[in-house]
């Protein structure tokens, strides 16, 4: 198992994702002799997990069952313990494509936060790319480094505990793409430019919840000579598939002009397969500003 390559069977030391139900997944560190509590009962790692194929159904002690899935960055995003607010798959997918990430890309990111986007980037740039990620909070930097090791992706990433606005990303002239998710991204634009490769075509993305931040960032990008500056937002809409039953009204027997009475229809409802939106949806995550670096 690793977050950048599939394997078939669960092994001691793997990180697996236990799927309890829609909207309920949890990460599990697989260990010989260990146990995991779930609402459906206990999962015994040695008998229930180790050696079983990923995707297996596991029956827990209380009789209920769960599925054990191979980790992917998408499942990790939903399961990971939050140390900060994180980026969700919808934004991550857009960022990945708009930054033109692919195997071999060199990427700089700040702030690392809880590592949600980091895992997605690593998956995309493996096996030949590298991620330089900067986090100014010491404990968070340490925690995410631990996770990268557990997830067997640490060879693809360098974590630096520093302030990107003051000290930059720690590399110069190498990055194909930069991602900024910090309170004052305009202060890091100059450092971003320095970290990027000299040739034109490098891509930058800044994620900000507030429009004022976006305005200041766009101004900084213009000042630093960036091109193709573009701000957008993307929102996910889920459609819940439902069967609904709609009752038919009874207007009384149908009286025709020739006086013949027709009996009202004998079915009282119509069944319909449709989708309904959730009651509330996330209406805003943040604005994504993209730009291209010209040749320097």
């Amino acid at each position: 198992m690793s977050f950048v390559e599939y394997s078939d069977c669960i092994q001691d030391g793997d990180v697996a994702i236990v799927y309890l139900s829609h909207n309920s997944v949890m990460p599990v560190k697989v260990q010989q002799g260990a146990q995991t509590q779930t609402r459906y009962g206990v999962i015994r790692h040695s008998t229930d997990l180790i050696g079983q194929p990923y995707g297996s159904k596991v029956t827990c002690s209380k009789g209920g069952w769960v599925y054990v899935l191979h980790p992917t960055p998408e499942l990790w995003t939903v399961a990971l313990p939050h140390r900060t607010q994180i980026l969700y798959t919808t934004d991550i997918a857009t960022i990945t494509m708009m930054l033109e990430l692919k195997p071999g890309s060199i990427v700089c990111e700040s702030g690392t936060g809880s590592g949600s986007l980091s895992h997605a980037i690593l998956r995309t740039i493996a096996p030949t790319g590298h991620l330089h990620t900067v986090e100014f909070h010491q404990q968070r930097a340490e925690k995410v480094q631990e996770e990268f090791a557990e997830h067997r992706v640490d060879h693809l990433v360098t974590v630096r505990n520093q302030d990107v606005c003051k000290d930059g990303f720690g590399v110069t002239g190498v990055a194909d793409a930069i991602f900024l998710d910090i309170p004052s991204p305009w202060e890091a634009v100059g450092h971003a430019k320095a970290a990027m490769k000299r040739q034109a075509g490098g891509r930058l993305c800044s994620f900000s919840p507030c429009i004022e931040q976006v305005q200041r960032t766009c101004q900084a990008l213009v000042d630093q000579g960036f091109e193709e500056i573009n701000t957008l937002e993307v929102l996910l809409r889920i459609h819940d598939v439902r069967t609904v039953s709609l009752p038919l009204p009874d207007f009384g027997p149908d009286c025709r002009s020739d006086g013949v009475e027709e009996t009202s229809p004998n079915y009282a409802a119509v069944s319909l397969k449709t989708t309904t939106p959730p009651r509330e949806i996330p209406g805003h995550t943040g604005y994504l500003t993209f730009a291209t670096k010209p040749r320097t």
Partner: protein, 468 residues
């Protein structure tokens, strides 16, 4: 490392590139002396060779490209004379003194875009009454119309997806680029995996998947009809070795393969030869008739006639040999693809076509290993509702989600920041999920219904950003 390692960033002969002006893109190949038409202008790409990608060129007379000098700083309207609002500006269409002919004359005189705009400003009676913002907008509009530049870009999934969506959405089933982005991520496309693709999006989806796999792993394109459509893949300009990872398999053989009855071994060579010979005979008959005019025949000596017979025989054999080689290659490819599929251990499945997705999905899912993602795109929600329902009945999948994305662009300018006026009406729908081990003994009623109960008190208090 000065400019030495720059080759991969330089435009070469034969490269597949993308032309760009503003928001308009066009994919072309660099071919010498070929006239390219883009945005109502024609030019040759010969001069582009040797320049760096992302260079902007000016189109000078004769269709010759010249790299643009450094950005011309300072707007023409450094006049600083501006009005405060439009209460006195009457739009009678008469404020511009230059006529269309005048402008054409200026163009013919070889005036550059910037200079034409300067002329337009000077000849506009209302320009100095406009507010600064209105002047800005006016200049931007004229720039768009009169600047004759083109930028040459290296192709990428992002650029090609935006191009197809803007130019020929019908060819890609109206797949919007952000929807494509979602598909690539939800299907966990990455290097060293084995991905099945069924698409009728001109090869855009296939090419995007190949880009994200970087030449590692394998992609098997399942195709309907006679052959796989891959025009879009060419536009990506992949290095040759990427094509080694690309396989194809005709869906007309899928049922046979699933039943274990597909025979991809070498066929009896003599039987094929006979078929080919018969075909050859038919071809040669009309030839023989043409040559058979008596007067000419008598002129030739017998030796010459024999020589001809030998030549004919040689040609026939050569053709037959060629055909044999081609058929053998085809068979080998089919066998290779079948071998990859037989294990039923593919890592991902992506479907995006004009075909009804339901049968495609239900059949191709069988080739996926457990705990692997799949994504189905459809222009229409109803087809995915059907897929969802069938999957629920059958079991073997979890985390099913029917979704679409809402995309909005913003204009960000000081004191003029707002969403852009026009917005995409829709980008298609996605059904995504993960396979799991198929339940051998399926209970009559599943343990938990996946449909949330109609009334849930919990939701009211949910502060998180996103439900998953």
């Amino acid at each position: 490392m000065a400019d030495n390692g720059d080759e991969e960033y330089r435009i070469q002969q034969g490269d597949y590139v993308v032309l760009k002006r503003g928001d308009i893109f066009k994919a072309v190949q660099i071919v010498p002396k070929k006239k390219i038409i883009f945005e109502k202008q024609w030019f040759f790409l010969d001069n582009a060779v040797g320049n760096l990608y992302s260079t902007t060129f000016e189109i000078s007379s004769g269709g010759i490209l010249q790299p643009q000098k450094l950005k011309e700083t300072g707007n023409p309207s450094d006049l600083k004379e501006a009005g405060t609002d439009n209460r006195n500006i009457v739009d009678d269409g008469k404020s511009q003194k230059l006529t269309r002919d005048d402008i054409e004359t200026l163009k013919e005189q070889g005036l550059k875009g910037q200079e034409i705009i300067q002329q337009l400003i000077e000849n506009s009676s209302t320009f100095r009454d406009k507010t600064e913002y209105a002047q800005d907008k006016y200049i931007k509009k004229k720039k768009k119309k009169y600047e004759n530049t083109v930028t040459i870009l290296k192709p990428s999934c992002r650029i090609l997806a935006m191009m197809y969506h803007g130019r020929e959405p019908g060819k890609i089933c109206h797949l919007r680029y952000d929807t494509l982005a979602q598909m690539l991520t939800l299907a966990n496309i990455h290097a060293h995996s084995k991905v099945l693709v069924f698409e009728t999006c001109a090869g855009l989806v296939l090419g995007s998947i190949m880009e994200r796999m970087g030449g590692y792993g394998s992609v098997i394109q399942m195709y309907p009809g006679g052959g796989p459509v891959r025009a879009g893949v060419e536009s990506f300009g992949f290095p040759a070795h990427f094509h080694d990872t690309l396989h194809e398999f005709p869906i007309c053989h899928v049922n046979a393969l699933l039943a274990g009855e597909l025979d991809t071994t070498a066929k009896d060579p003599t039987a094929e030869e006979k078929l080919n010979l018969a075909a050859d005979e038919e071809q040669i008959q009309p030839e023989a008739e043409q040559q058979g005019s008596p007067e000419e025949q008598n002129m030739e000596t017998n030796a010459a006639q024999d020589q001809e017979k030998i030549e004919k025989e040689k040609r026939r054999e050569a053709k037959a040999q060629e055909r044999k080689v081609k058929l053998e290659e085809k068979r080998k490819k089919l066998a290779a693809a079948a071998a990859l599929l037989e294990g039923r251990n593919a890592d991902g499945l992506v479907i995006a076509s004009r075909f009804h997705p339901c049968p495609v999905l239900m059949t191709l899912l069988k080739f996926l290993a457990p705990s692997r993602p799949f994504v189905v795109y459809s222009q229409y929600k109803e087809t995915l509702i059907e897929c969802y329902t069938k999957l629920k009945e059958q079991g073997g999948t979890v985390n099913l989600r029917l979704s679409d994305t809402w995309l909005r662009h913003y204009q960000v300018l000081p004191n003029r920041t707002h969403p852009v006026l026009l917005m995409s009406g829709g980008g298609g729908y996605l059904l995504s999920g993960t396979t799991v081990a198929m339940d051998q003994s399926k209970p009559a009623a599943s343990q938990r219904s996946e449909e949330p109960a109609p009334k849930r008190q919990k939701d009211y208090h949910r502060p998180d950003r996103e439900h998953c």
